[in-house]
């Protein structure tokens, strides 16, 4: 039997490329082929769906019940999965937008494939969420084998060892004294076992064993070990693969140490703290710049160590805070103490603690009511000028929209700021809002927090009460949307330097950030970080628990891809940006990205509904 054409077609497409040849050959014998003319509705919500469909040629669009476009599918892409997961009832509406040839796989055959082939099943595993979250470490592993660091580099101290006959009480006292969570058990310099905190709890205390019991009786014998010369990433892979938290390190036969789960990421966290500390030791802008220049390298290492996008955003924002704070200190040293209290505010992504490797500066200066332009104007103008241009020198380039403290308009006393916000909230105008929405994400970095607290209280109270403002914000939140046609190259940036590139920031991150902001402001919540805002919205019942979890995962996945992309650029000595070429995405990444986009689109539709955003 030769159906080589169809086998070859499937074998070249994800996730069918995960199936062994025999499985594909058997699968092909189950396929039914249908031709669907342009305009034909293939399934409507509620329809009975018995097949998974693969687009062989043509194009299909999927809309949700409200008519919002969720996905545009082309050659090799699959639909009907959700329906099959929901008892064979269509959830969305799928229609042919071009004449289509569909390969259809009957549900039982699809089910059998998922049962027999874990990798294939993983691809489809809960489309509702799970997959995005799980995709990250896998993806990191594939794209970023950690080559630069050796396991030996991670070791902080010689191994803490005991002999097998040591009583467990003595062993645990040793652990306490040494401040370690595991002991390596050695005999003649050779590793024979490991004893962990958990073993002491589970195998000794819970089992009611005598404290005199020998370590040998409760240790894990002949534990996994790893060679000191292997790449550090191998250690983290080995630990997650075997689900262990401690990994003895050997050099040849000699035991030289132990790596713990948190070691890898912690090693990098330490360097975050270290870099921040370095900043405060520098006395010049140039000195500070040399430290800031190490941030991309830090991000690269964080990526390799498997840190989350959120964790990396937190680290880079913390360092941006430190840079601003140091510049303010240096400014005050030069100009003398401030004549009236002030607070330096981070705005935008830095305020949300979601800064990426490439960031311009967004900030503002909030001055005390006692501020008098004539007497104090020069001081703060000069301070803001020093800090903003210092940040620019360091690599936090001037904000193209001039949302910076050196702009007179954004360096004002409390009353003026309150007036700005009153106008934005009570007489919203979409264009002004788009420009000013950056100031709805504020965080105090240096100075009087009480001053900021007063401003924030008025902002949140007004925002919470103004329905019209909320509707405008909602509408604003719908201006950026995920590029659903991305995979057919339809909604890419046209022309210019980034021709046919996907803008991970505006098409991926921004829509989620905007969504979260609307919800948080509606609730009058002080949360600024997007994850926190989504949690707040969930707890208040504004969005479903699933919706919040999906969005957080989507944000993490898109953020993760963005960081990987930027880390690759940094590694290649290129400036980091947000534009990804479709050809640089693996089939795996495309599939996950598409899921993430579908989540965002669904939640945007829900938002539009809630706030009747289209009425304004």
């Amino acid at each position: 039997m030769e159906l080589a054409e169809i086998i070859a077609f499937l074998a070249a497409r994800h996730p069918f490329d995960l199936l062994p040849r025999e499985a594909l050959e058997a699968l092909v014998r189950k396929i039914e082929i249908r031709y669907v003319r342009k305009g034909t509705v293939i399934m409507s919500p509620g329809d009975v769906v018995t097949m998974l469909s693969v687009v062989r040629s043509g194009a299909v669009e999927t809309h949700d019940g409200e008519g919002n476009l969720l996905a545009r599918l082309g050659e090799g892409e699959v639909f009907g999965v959700r329906a099959l997961f929901r008892g064979g009832r269509a959830v969305h509406r799928s229609a042919a937008i071009e004449d289509c040839l569909l390969y259809q796989i009957p549900a039982p055959a699809f089910e059998r494939l998922r049962r027999d082939h874990a990798a294939f099943a993983f691809h489809f595993a809960p489309l509702e969420g799970g997959r995005l979250k799980e995709a990250q470490p896998l993806d990191g592993e594939r794209s970023f084998p950690l080559l630069s660091m050796r396991i030996a580099d991670l070791l902080r101290r010689p191994p803490v060892t005991v002999a097998p006959e040591t009583p467990v009480r003595e062993a645990s006292q040793r652990m306490r004294d040494e401040g370690v969570s595991s002991l390596l058990v050695s005999e003649g310099g050779k590793l024979v076992g490991i004893l962990t905190d958990r073993d002491l709890r589970n195998r000794v205390l819970a089992a009611g064993l005598d404290p005199q019991t020998a370590v040998a009786a409760v240790m894990t014998r002949d534990p996994h070990r790893i060679d000191a010369d292997r790449p550090a990433f191998d250690a983290s892979m080995a630990m997650s693969r075997h689900n262990i938290h401690h990994l003895p390190v050997v050099q040849g036969d000699t035991l030289i140490g132990c790596v713990t789960t948190t070691n890898l990421v912690n090693a990098q966290t330490v360097s975050t703290v270290h870099l921040a500390g370095e900043m405060f030791s520098r006395r010049s802008v140039e000195g500070l710049r040399d430290v800031v220049r190490q941030i991309p390298g830090l991000v690269f290492h964080l990526v390799q160590a498997g840190a989350t996008a959120r964790g990396i955003g937190l680290a880079t924002s913390t360092l941006a805070d430190a840079a601003a704070r140091r510049l303010l200190q240096l400014g005050e040293e030069k100009l003398g103490p401030p004549p009236v209290p002030y607070v330096w505010l981070a705005a935008g992504s830095q305020a949300r603690q979601e800064q990426s490797a490439v960031s311009d500066q967004d900030n503002a200066l909030l001055l005390d009511e006692a501020y008098d332009e004539a007497r104090h104007g020069d001081y703060f103008r000069e301070l803001a000028q020093m800090v903003c241009s210092g940040l620019d020198t360091c690599g936090y380039v001037f904000c193209p929209g001039e949302a910076m403290a050196m702009t007179t308009r954004w360096r004002q006393p409390l009353g003026v700021w309150q007036g700005y916000f009153r106008r934005w909230i009570e007489e919203p105008d979409p264009k002004a809002l788009m420009l000013s929405s950056i100031f709805f994400d504020l965080r105090p970095v240096h100075g009087s927090e009480a001053l900021f607290e007063t401003l924030r209280a008025t902002i949140l109270e007004r925002a919470r009460r103004s329905r019209i403002f909320q509707a405008y914000m909602a509408k604003n939140a719908l201006t950026h949307h995920p590029p659903l046609g991305f995979f057919r190259n339809l909604v890419l940036i046209r022309g210019g330097e980034h021709h046919h590139a996907l803008d991970l920031k505006h098409n991926g991150v921004v829509p989620i950030v905007d969504l979260a902001r609307v919800h948080a402001l509606t609730l009058g919540s002080p949360a600024v970080n997007t994850d926190e805002r989504l949690h707040v919205a969930r707890d208040a019942g504004l969005i479903s628990a699933d919706g919040a979890a999906d969005l957080i995962e989507a944000l993490e996945y898109i953020g993760h891809l963005r960081i990987l992309h930027q880390a690759r650029q940094v590694r290649a000595g290129k400036p980091a940006d947000n534009f990804m070429q479709p050809k640089d995405l693996s089939g795996f990444e495309r599939a996950h990205l598409k899921d993430a986009f579908a989540v965002v689109k669904t939640m945007q539709a829900a938002l539009a509904n809630t706030y009747q955003a289209d009425k304004f």
Partner: protein, 218 residues
């Protein structure tokens, strides 16, 4: 082999082709059982040229069913001219070990039971299968056929399109419906190609109601 052990009457019954009833012509096409078929041969003359392979795939309920697809290599009675062998990519060695037509034919004819044939340029398939049936069983091959080439010719004529050389080839006709390119001259691929083309043509010929078999055969 076993075929030669059967009596003449049994052989006749075995090879008696299904017949098309008049009422059948009014059936919507998606209620009719079809079998798309392609034969690869050493040449175009059914009296002197030999069948080298047969591929077929059923179409029913408006869908191609790969589950019951079939593909048979046939050992030719004589050596094949070199140029043909190249065209089909069938190596003489593979054919030498294949069963003879007499062994393959009953399976093929059985596949046609209760079904209407589909082929691109059906005259050729009908001629070769008829010749085969006559030679082996002494029966006619009386299977009603839909010819996708004839359908395409009519569709183009109806739209006032001039039909140029090559426009009616399977690959050209398929491309007009946005159907993918398949490697030509493999009996199963071509049968599949014709089956898909038929579905596309039938979809186009259908209004709110599906086209009837009669409309597609006329």
């Amino acid at each position: 082999m076993w075929l030669h052990e059967l009596g003449a009457e049994v052989r006749r019954r075995l090879f008696r082709p299904p017949r098309l009833q008049a009422a059948y012509r009014n059936s919507p096409y998606d209620e009719v059982e079809f079998l798309a078929v392609d034969v690869e041969t050493t040449g175009l003359d059914p009296t002197s040229d030999a069948i080298l392979s047969v591929g077929y795939v059923p179409v029913s309920g408006g869908a191609v069913r790969l589950a019951d697809a079939g593909y048979h290599l046939v050992r030719p009675p004589r050596a094949i001219p070199e140029d043909t062998a190249v065209l089909h990519g069938l190596l003489e060695e593979n054919l030498r070990t294949a069963p003879p037509l007499a062994e393959v034919l009953p399976t093929v004819i059985e596949a046609f039971r209760g079904r209407v044939g589909i082929a691109h340029h059906a005259t050729l398939e009908i001629a070769f299968l008829t010749a085969a049936c006559r030679t082996i069983s002494g029966n006619d091959f009386r299977v009603p056929f839909v010819c996708t080439l004839a359908l395409e010719k009519r569709a183009l004529a109806r739209r006032g399109k001039a039909v140029g050389a090559g426009d009616l080839r399977l690959a050209s006709a398929r491309s007009r419906y946005g159907l993918p390119r398949y490697r030509a001259h493999d009996a199963l691929n071509d049968a599949l190609g014709a089956a898909e083309l038929f579905l596309a043509q039938a979809a186009q010929a259908s209004g709110r109601k599906p086209a009837t078999l009669g409309q597609l055969m006329a």
